[in-house]
Symmetry: C2
């Protein structure tokens, strides 16, 4: 099974539908689709929520609602509270990146709740006390108050990346083998002498410079082929300069 | 120097001030404070931007604006484009986590631009072609369209965490040493026999179970002290049952 299907986002006492909508879009981006509102305290209409959810309105429409936090997490094997504050009950708080893998392993056995508090007051002490795990999102100490949907995004992002379901993009062209690189150096050396950029006694010095430039990052077969083409054409153009002038 | 001071968020052709405001708050959360708008195409008033920036309006007010993308990044030592799409010029795209450390090292030498395109069309091919690096935020293939300020948040978050400026919270109480754990097992064994939970011949079996339970995660001196207190009190209560009954 996909453990992300057992991750449940629980919003407690949320005030604004816009944050619910933005949270839905963030969840969809990160492959997490179970939304629960616990004791919602919504102050505006769902219009704004619908607008900000964009193409993730299905998550919003499929949400469950419970009158209390206890009911929203009763069947969960882990209840992970998010907190920006220090203090009571908050000593064993971790960064999401440091516990996402362990919690995903738990999610193989049952629902894991990621719990987010009110926009203004976060989670109350009695709610924190019911959490089995606590996380705090790394933020600059100059501005620690993070928007609700932004907190949902970063937390879900860490679970999504920990799930290994995303394959990072990879360079499609294979790296150039040494023989191709040496051919490139040889042809460039010939070209640079042909166009009068360097004399043969300067070859070692200059070619070491070019070799260094071309070796700083991944250097693919395509890159080498491109630069080999330059050398070929520059030699041709120099030898046929009079031809080119005529045209 | 703090390399985050050399990170510049460049928003190209942005349509909505709300996204600028939310991006400012996200930047402030992640300790990044330089905002540039390149060829902005704003369709609404700054009221929404001001509202969503919350306490990060200073970043919005201190922004610079340029008529073209070229001018916005002319002094940068790296120009990092963000793209959600595959295709032309996009073969060497990386996940932000995989390049943030290298780019922060570059930021020690000069400004590094993190470039975000339009809400509807992203970056154009001619803008992508001007980027020295490309990143793509890991998202679920079922919903790859990420909100502009959410993209700014995750990118800045990866640079902030890579900067090492955030110290993850650590358990304050030190882990319990083996001697304290063994004392705990001994006192609990005495208590469990005293209250009639187990007979002495069952000791090995049950105590192995308790030892297992208490060893699954970090187990601190405070945890051990708490459970030693339980044993002490349970023994006292059993021996003084008649006293307690009388009160």
């Amino acid at each position: 099974m996909n453990p992300l299907d057992n991750i449940r986002v629980v919003l407690v006492g949320t005030l604004y539908t816009g944050n619910v909508g933005s949270a839905c879009r963030a969840m969809a981006n990160m492959g997490i689709r179970n939304l629960v509102l616990a004791a919602p305290n919504l102050q505006n209409s769902w219009d704004e929520g619908e607008r900000l959810a964009v193409h993730a309105t299905d998550i919003m429409h499929n949400r469950k609602e419970f009158a209390t936090f206890e009911e929203a997490v009763a069947d969960c094997v882990a209840v992970v509270g998010t907190t920006a504050r220090e203090g009571l009950y908050r000593q064993h708080v971790k960064a999401p990146r440091d516990c996402a893998a362990d919690l995903l392993a738990l999610a193989q056995s049952g629902p894991v709740a990621l719990v987010f508090g009110r926009e203004d007051k976060g989670l109350l002490n009695e709610e924190i006390a019911q959490c089995t795990h606590l996380i705090r999102i790394p933020v600059d100490e100059g501005y620690t108050s993070i928007n609700l949907s932004q907190a949902v995004l970063i937390t879900c992002y860490e679970f999504f990346t920990a799930s290994g379901r995303y394959q990072p993009p990879r360079e499609k062209a294979p790296p150039a083998p040494q023989a191709q690189k040496m051919q490139l150096m040889k042809n460039w050396s010939a070209m640079l002498q042909e166009i009068g950029f360097m004399k043969s006694e300067q070859e070692d010095h200059f070619m070491q410079g070019f070799h260094r430039v071309f070796s700083r990052g991944v250097f693919t077969r395509d890159d080498a082929a491109l630069l080999l083409g330059v050398a070929r054409q520059a030699i041709w153009a120099t030898k046929n300069a009079s031809e080119i002038q005529k045209n």
